[in-house]
Amino acid sequence: MTTPQPQTWSVSEITAYIKHLLEDDPALHGVNVSGEVSNLTYHRSGHVYFSVKDREAQLSCVMFRAYAQQSVQLKEGDQVVVTGEMTIYAPRGNYQMMVRAVKKAGLGDLFQKFVELKEKLQREGLFDSSRKKKIPLFPETIAVITSPTGAAIRDILQTLERRYNRLKVILIPTTVQGEQGAKSIITSLQAAQTTGADVIILARGGGSIEDLWNFNEESVARAIAASQIPVISGIGHESDVTIADFVADVRASTPTAAAERVVPEKAAVLATLNEYEKQLRHSLRYFIDFKRQVLDDYSNRLEQAVKQTVRNKRHELDVLAATLRGLDVTDLLQKGYTLTLKDGEIQKDASAIHPGDRIETVFAKGRIRSEVTDV
């Protein structure tokens, strides 16, 4: 029995052959592999490199940028199910999985719990808009319930400071993750009631669904509902929605948004007030201008009226003066006429005078007395 001379392959040839074996096998198309994430690298390029391992083996994985952008955030130790194609990376002689999607394992259970609790609390009316408290327009004191060392408090303080810095912020240091989380959040919510705060921000930075799980616990939801002070929730990233968000009086998508929700109200109100003030000033000015014009008008009419009165009186006086001049008896005397008086009275009829009467003759200048001899 002769054995055929074994064929000698080049490295490229054998690699290409294996590549075909792998990639052409329908059983390896769209496979799901479960395991734990390790050696995780988010590369600058946007590609994500990691391994999925179990106790005995590990599988190199690459998730290209386009898929990574749509994927949940991974971290070391995550239990995942990856879906993709098996392939060979020839330059290194590695086989690897080109991952198209990652599902976090265990999510199913948690999601089920989430849905059940949500429905239960909804039935109880804990999410009803009628029991939502209004966020005050001008909060002076804000209690922030979050970790003193997390990204959330940093984001909140930065936002508040940037927007409006005259707020009093009371940080209630709280564990917002892990087994102690729920208890700590409840204790902080109770403690916040006596701080005199106008509003409470309940916040936590982004994380996995497990990290945020405290905010999906029934005891936390009930503590939020019991708060006498309005609660704004700002938990995780925009896409994260927790039970706490539904119970809170206002849901903000992130800690930053929660801070903005407290302050832009104020900024908006101030802007509105400024606008009112401007309008008020404007209308006041208009009012004054208008009244001034009316006053000018009155003033003119008053002047005309009083001047007219003076003119009228002057005219009346002129008429009287002219009449009086016409009654001047001495006028005729100036022309050479004389007047005859008897007992001081002007005489118009000679028959009233008898011989022997004493009469007086008035000239323009001087008078003479005489005795009548004949009539």
Binding site: V310, K313, R314, L320, A321, L324, V329, T330, G344, E345
Partner: protein
């Protein structure tokens, strides 16, 4: 105590005086006396109106 000048009173006085003279007064001296008095009253009123006019102008300039 000096009485306040009243234009209307003075004008009424002049009117009455003129009417009285128009009806005719036989007493010559009385007539002359009334004529003089009328002229004095007219002059007083003219002065008053001059002052009033000046005051009006001054007030209008000030406002």
């Amino acid at each position: 105590m000096e009485e306040k000048f009243s234009l209307e009173d003075k004008l009424a006085e002049i009117r009455a005086l003129v009417e009285k003279m128009q009806k005719g007064i036989s007493d010559f001296d009385k007539q002359v006396e009334l004529f003089k008095k009328g002229n004095i009253l007219i002059e007083e009123c003219r002065q008053y109106l001059n002052v009033a006019e000046m005051q009006i102008e001054k007030l209008m300039d000030e406002s």
